[in-house]
Symmetry: C2
Subunit: 122 residues, 2 copies
């Protein structure tokens, strides 16, 4: 785990680097941290980023799955941004990070619908 790989291409990122990355608003306010990404097993496409909000919303114990399509990569500053306000994130579907959580297609549809994202689940 002490591995250091620098990827000089601007296009690839290690999943271990994505996890732990901060997410910012368009106005450079830190909104949260990516705790995990959920990937389609077969296609390898990232479907959700799982965010935590480090306490500033008083909800650091909850995980908020965001459709990947809500994240934009800022190639200038090398950070991910979401164009969502705090209140919208606060009211979004979430689950207790410390409890077992069963992700169902129905839950996925609720998340996709909340963010008005393309429905992954059909």
């Amino acid at each position: 785990m002490s591995e250091t790989i620098s990827i000089s291409s601007a296009t690839l990122i290690s999943s271990k680097t994505i996890v732990g990355s901060d997410v910012f608003s368009p106005t450079d306010e830190k909104l949260g941290t990516i705790e995990d990404i959920l990937v389609d097993k077969v296609s390898g496409r990232t479907i959700y980023a799982v965010l935590s909000f480090g306490g500033f919303l008083g909800m650091g114990e909850r995980h908020h799955p965001l459709p990947w399509s809500t994240l934009a990569y800022d190639v200038v500053k090398n950070v991910y941004r979401v164009n969502l306000d705090k209140k919208h994130l606060e009211d979004a579907p979430s689950y207790d990070r410390n409890k077992e959580f069963s992700w169902t297609p129905e839950y996925g549809r609720t998340v996709d619908s909340y963010y008005k994202s393309p429905n992954y689940w059909n």
Copy 2:
């Protein structure tokens, strides 16, 4: 990190679960372990899985990037498989996991070409 999320849908997998997964041959021989995945920053598409071969090839200290398209997900046994023989994997592009490695587009093209995979780099 003590988080336990069970995803009951058969389609999604956490990046933290992919990392550490074993990779098998079509005849159920364990070939290696996924150490990391490299993701396109913008699209979220997984481009490479980085494999290690735990010593059985005498090369546990090296990382072998494989184009994601070489991996097939076995939905019955819930494992990833590659249809490649040991010799082919042994001779593949790799780098020392303990040294800093700069991934360049040229290196990526070499990898894609070795596995006759679609060229990510153009």
